[in-house]
Amino acid sequence: MSLAARFDRRPVVLIVIGALLAAALGTALVSGFRLATRLREDIAAVQAASALQAYPRELVREVSGLRERLEVRAYAGRALTTLRDSTRDFNERLQALAALDHDPARLASVQQRWRGYRAALAPVLEFRGEPYVDSDAASTRLSADGRGLYASLEHARLYALANAHGFDADLAAVTGDLQASASAAATRLRLLLQGGVLAALVLAAIAAWLLLSRARHERAAQEARERTRDILRTVREGFFLLDAEHRIGSVWSDALTQMFGREDFAGLGFRELLAGFVPETTIATALKYVDLLWGDRANENLMKTINPLSQLEVHSPDPLRREPRYLQFDFHRVTGAQGVKYVLCSVVDVTANVALARELQESQQGADAQLEMLIGMTRTDPLQLASFLDTADAGLKLVNAILRSPARSDADFRGKLAGLMRELHALKGEASALDLSGVADRLHALETRVSGCESRATLSGDDFLPIVAKLDELVAYLRGIREIAARLALTEHAAPASATDAIAPILEAAAARIALEHHKMLRVECNGFDAIPQSLAKALKDCLVQLVRNAAVHGIEDPELRRTRAKGDVGVVSARFARTADGYELTVEDDGAGIAPDEVKAVAVRRGLITEAQAAAMDTRAAIALIFRAGFSTAGEVSLGAGRGVGMDVVARTVRALGGRIGVATMPGKYTRFKIHVPTGGKDAAAAA
């Protein structure tokens, strides 16, 4: 406000000063002109007065001359004429001087004296007769008129002589006076001129300053315009003003060109701006919204919350630009004294942000899931696949059952983690054994979600939402596999086959995979599997997969090491099932590295399962038993093949659920043998699952 006022007031002040100076200068010029005229008159008067000064003596001389001529009887006509002329001249000059002089008093005494002169001279000047009488050639005498003239002349001469000095003095005084007046006028004129010049200079200076400052203002305004232009050209946001008729004003930022693919926006309607990019219904809503901005019905906050263009999906009319973009419009009322003047609209392209959010969301889906599923399936034996699908269904049912048990506290939720990990891990082992990478990947992702929960400070249902969503995804994926398998009739003739038939191939496939991954050579020998009762098939298969994987990963050494230990390059894992007097016995034995109790203890300490002191006090038997504890794993890295410390845990838990027991015999560098004993009439597999 104050800034604007200063800017407005300055030229006014300058103009007033200029006007005053111009008036002063005008006055000076007018009075200067008057003074100059006066001066010219004064100078003329001085000249006239000084010319007059010669006359009194001249008149005396002429009168005397005329008298002498009369005395010698010389021709007097010419002299008389001269006297008449002189008198007339003087008279005329005196009158002219009187006309010139502005001070009538000054000339009064001179005119007084001149009147005396004229009276004295009058008889002479009016003489018309013949002064001489010629009696004879020798003698000429004065006529009567001549004598009269002579007397008049003598009177005039005497009068002139008597008054000459005074007349002189009077004329000198008048001249002096006039000179003084003229010189005073000259001084005044000089002063006036100097003042005028000064005023002119000041005026010129003011004019120059005004012009300069105006130029400066213009330059500043120009610069401001350029800066605004620069801002509007470079800013990444689109800016424009909307008037009450939804028209765009004359100012907008160049970013709009990029966003809407046109150059000129001045006077363009908001509807036309959006047309072709967004559906008509959206435009209608947007226009209604802008209309509300012009009214005062809704306050700013409410208006902000109902902005319909806060994330607008924009489709370019150009068919080559398929990808939709997302524009964020913001509207601000710009108010003046009369309410809303116009609406400032800013537009930001938020496509990148939106795309990122979408990407994060959809990256988990995998567009070619179907294809990958198909490829995985074609590599899998139909029998094994059918068996796996059953196992997976049962496993995921168990997972869901764990989720379903009510939970409110952190401890409730945390208590679910171990069980979830165990089930998921077991399934993952089987899926990767069958090379069903799509399933294994999903199980791995789910397992990662679950294990990610362990490190969280407090667990709540919110942490489990992603888990259940992922579980759902997996269930759907498996259902997809089942449907495709049915369509391809992969499982149809496999349906009646017994589950036990599928076990050996699963183990062999798993072993082969691990051998490949770990650069080992190994062979799985299966015996007596056909004696496995159907009721135990599922549970024992889970155990076998884990035990064989464990033997392959941790037991069997790589060929080089085996050679130093005087063993064949190819490691052997043998799995035997046999009926005993009181139940069944499952043995899994490998001719590998055996279990080193100290190593097991060290790992358990590192995993935080036991303390150093407990480790030191532990005998070999107790040490080896540690491998069945949840959270124990000797595999360093987390991968699909090797464990997260849940493998042997699953086995132990399954065996316990069957009412059986598990034993370990091992000799470092020689072998490891797991022996599982399950009583007949023990709990059946369904209960175990």
Binding site: K397, G461, I467, A476
Partner: protein, 148 residues
């Protein structure tokens, strides 16, 4: 496939009601997939979804819980009518939330209220059904999201 994001929108709509109207936030329990028919509580508010997804979202709560909610809302009438209104409002909120977040992707029906002895709801064939327990104070309700 129902995204986690979509699940969250429905859950948030529900918990928002508790936080705003009943002045105490609700927490969600352990969510699971529905495999067998699920018994509903005394009062249920139900919205039907169509468009990009098809199915229903249902908030079901026991009478005792609703009574405490009404108390927290300074309501003195715990009659049948009021209970019905309350679950209706919860369903309304879920629907409003979904409409805001999904826009045109979904079409959502006005809420329908079920009460009394309603038969258990069956898992919809073809749709995966999520059950999300809602805990509020010492009470529990359920949010059932069955969409495909």
């Amino acid at each position: 496939m129902l995204h986690e994001r979509e699940l969250k929108v429905f859950v948030e709509g529900t918990t928002r009601f508790f936080e705003v109207a009943a002045q105490q936030p609700a927490s969600i329990g352990s969510p699971y997939l529905m495999e067998e028919p699920l018994a509903l509580h005394e009062y249920s508010g139900l919205i039907e979804v169509s468009g990009r997804r098809e199915g229903v979202v249902c908030f079901t709560a026991p009478k005792t819980m609703l009574a405490v909610m009404l108390m927290k809302m300074h309501e003195t009438d715990f009659g049948h009518e009021t209970m019905r209104d309350l679950v209706g409002e919860v369903a309304n909120t879920i629907s409003g939330n979904a409409r805001r977040d999904f826009g045109n992707e979904f079409r959502i029906s006005p809420p329908r209220v079920l009460w009394g002895d309603t038969p258990p709801i069956d898992p919809r064939p073809g749709a995966r059904t999520f059950v999300i327990p809602i805990h509020w104070r010492s009470h529990s309700a359920k949010l059932v999201v069955a969409l495909c």
